[in-house]
């Protein structure tokens, strides 16, 4: 059973075809990767799946239900969570509040409850705080709970962003260059973290990455994009030998 099915997804920005006929079958529990040179349209694919932009054409189905046409927050509520290439935390809020925002559409109280701070309100807030704190503990961030998110070191900001995405209780996690700006040791830890997260939360993961070491280590299958088009698809071993992929990354051989 495929969790995510993308069919002929396209996006045109004026004269630029940013994504052309993107197709993807992501089985439940899979961990796939999306690679390609800068400007290939990888992040645009993420933005189309999560509803940041409406696609020009095509369909995206999560567990058989169409996502295209839904506003972005509804797509999140259906179970798609993501992180960003350039970290987008709520910098001026505390680490714990960053996580608690993710509970906004299932707080279990309405405006009156918030105005009155009644018993039901406090029970729900306490429950949310405990769940958020538990998540921080799993990501070894609990000692930072009352610090502002922008004051965390880079690696912890990345971890917090993943934790925050998981707080929306997703089925599908999209990671946009999670290893950007990390040193080799941190990348090694990240690989372990992603494996562990997927196991622990029983997630399907689709990630964009530049660092080949991470992709080759982690992903079961890889899709390669260049200038908006999918140029290859296969296991990591197949991809490293693929001629078009090598050309896209290294340029064509002179006179070949």
């Amino acid at each position: 059973m495929n969790l995510l099915e993308v069919r002929n997804l396209s996006k045109r920005f004026g004269g630029l075809l940013a994504v052309a006929d993107f197709n993807l079958d992501l089985p439940e529990g899979a961990l796939y990767g999306l690679i390609g040179p800068n400007g290939a349209g990888k992040t645009t694919v993420f933005n189309l799946i999560t509803g940041v932009y409406p696609p020009t054409a095509g369909s995206v189905k999560l567990a058989g239900r169409e996502l295209v046409g839904l506003p972005a927050h509804r797509i999140t509520q259906r179970g798609v969570a993501r992180t960003f290439q350039n970290i987008r935390l709520f910098g001026g809020m505390t680490v714990l509040d960053n996580i608690k925002v993710a509970f906004n559409y299932r707080t279990g109280y309405h405006l009156w409850g918030a105005v009155l701070h009644g018993p039901g309100f406090n029970a729900r807030e306490q429950a949310i705080t405990e769940q958020a704190y538990e998540l921080l503990r799993l990501f070894r961030l609990e000692s930072r709970y009352d610090q502002l998110a922008k004051s965390l070191p880079y690696g912890e900001q990345r971890r917090l962003e993943i934790a925050r995405a998981l707080a929306t209780n997703p089925r599908l996690l999209l990671l946009d260059e999670p290893a950007a700006g990390m040193n080799p040791r941190e990348v090694g830890e990240l690989v372990e973290l992603i494996r562990w997260v997927r196991e622990k939360f029983q997630l399907t993961v689709f990630l964009i990455e530049h660092q080949m070491r991470l992709v080759m280590n982690l992903c079961e299958r890889i899709q390669v994009m260049d200038f908006g088009e999918t140029i290859a698809e296969g296991t990591p071993a197949e991809i490293v030998d693929n001629r078009r992929v090598i050309e896209a990354y290294l340029g064509e051989e002179e006179g070949a």
Binding site: H73, G91, M93, K100, V101, Y105, A114, H117, E125, A165
Partner: protein
């Protein structure tokens, strides 16, 4: 894993005020009662009257402005938008409540909620188109709304038109304003320390990330705006039945600017800052009135508030209390009481 909480702590958590909160509420109530008694029995120290009508008048204005500035803080401070039409909602509340008391001859106690609700309804109608935009555009839309409201009032003879409208019953007293302002602050504080306040801050910090957390950004913006307009309408109803005379010129963008100066002085996203900002500006302007007129410089008073704004922006752009509260407002976080985590 959980340690058992003693009963008083559970009670405290339920009210979420803490002993400092009770202390603050107590001090506030005591002050109000003291002022009332001082006014009633004309207490004085030597020849100085403790609560002469002039002081009471200024305290009443402070109370009304606290409602206005604290509610404006929801939109401009917590939500991080720049709306500059707050005086428009003040006008809506003032005129709508006066319509109830003067045209329909109903009680002030009907007019007060009607003024607030009228503010909220107009706020909703403005928010619908306004939040299609943001940033500078939102400022222009709300400013335009403020001007439109003033123009409409000037052209409606039935509510006095350009001559203003008087004769409202004097129903607003210092104690009523004190109670309403206190309740308003409690309600706003409760909202800020709930999912709503959290989401507003998240939208301020990063709108796209908030949307990706499942936040219906448009809806939460509307809620903040409508609540702010509700309280501005409430303040308008109080004001109309305090001054017993309202005039379109008191609701122009100049009034909004006064509120903005108080807001920025006190600090964005801080309710105690709003109270502080209002108090300082009111006391400052009033005390300057006496001092300056001695030197025949009375008109220079109007230079002071823009000057204050410039000095704040240059030296302390976050305002006196930006993003912080006095200690009696409890911390945002209440972390679960549990054993130190291992592994």
């Amino acid at each position: 894993m959980h340690t058992i909480q003693p009963e008083w702590q559970i009670m405290r958590d339920r009210l979420r005020l803490g002993w400092r909160g009770y202390a603050a509420a107590g001090v506030y109530a005591a002050l109000v009662i003291l002022v009332m008694l001082a006014a009633r029995y004309q207490w004085s120290i030597g020849s100085v009257e403790l609560a002469n009508p002039y002081y009471l008048h200024n305290l009443t204005l402070i109370g009304i402005n606290v409602i206005l500035v604290a509610s404006l803080n929801l939109v401009n401070g917590y939500l991080g938008e720049f709306a500059i039409g707050h005086a428009g909602f003040l006008a809506v509340g003032a005129y709508a409540s006066s319509v109830v008391t003067l045209l329909f001859h109903q009680s002030f106690w009907v007019a007060l909620p009607v003024g607030a609700l009228a503010g909220a309804v107009v706020g909703y109608l403005i928010a619908l188109p306004a939040f299609k935009t943001f940033g500078d555009y939102l400022a222009i839309v709300t400013l335009g709304f403020n001007m439109i409201i003033v123009n409409i009032i000037q052209n409606l003879e039935v509510i006095g038109g350009p001559r203003g409208w008087g004769g409202q019953p004097k129903m607003t007293s210092f104690w009523l304003v004190a109670v309403v302002a206190g309740l308003s602050l409690i309600i706003l504080r409760n909202l800020v320390y709930s999912n709503y306040g959290r989401v507003w801050l998240a939208i301020r910090e990063n709108e796209i990330a908030a949307e990706m957390m499942g936040v219906d950004v448009m809806r939460y913006k509307m809620i903040a705006f409508v609540i702010a307009a509700f309280f501005a309408g409430l303040a308008g109803a109080l004001w109309a039945h305090y001054q017993q005379y309202i005039h379109p010129s008191s609701f122009t963008y100049l009034r909004t600017t006064d509120l903005l100066v108080m807001l920025y002085l006190g600090g964005m996203a801080s309710l105690s800052g709003s109270v502080l900002g209002v108090t300082i500006m009111t006391v400052l302007l009033e005390s300057l009135r006496g001092v300056l007129s001695q030197f025949n410089l009375a008109e220079w008073r109007m230079v002071i508030s823009p000057l204050v704004l410039i000095v704040i922006m240059l030296t302390r752009p976050q305002g006196l209390m930006g993003n912080r509260e006095f200690a009696f407002v409890p911390r945002r976080e209440e972390v679960p009481r549990r054993e130190p985590a291992r592994g």
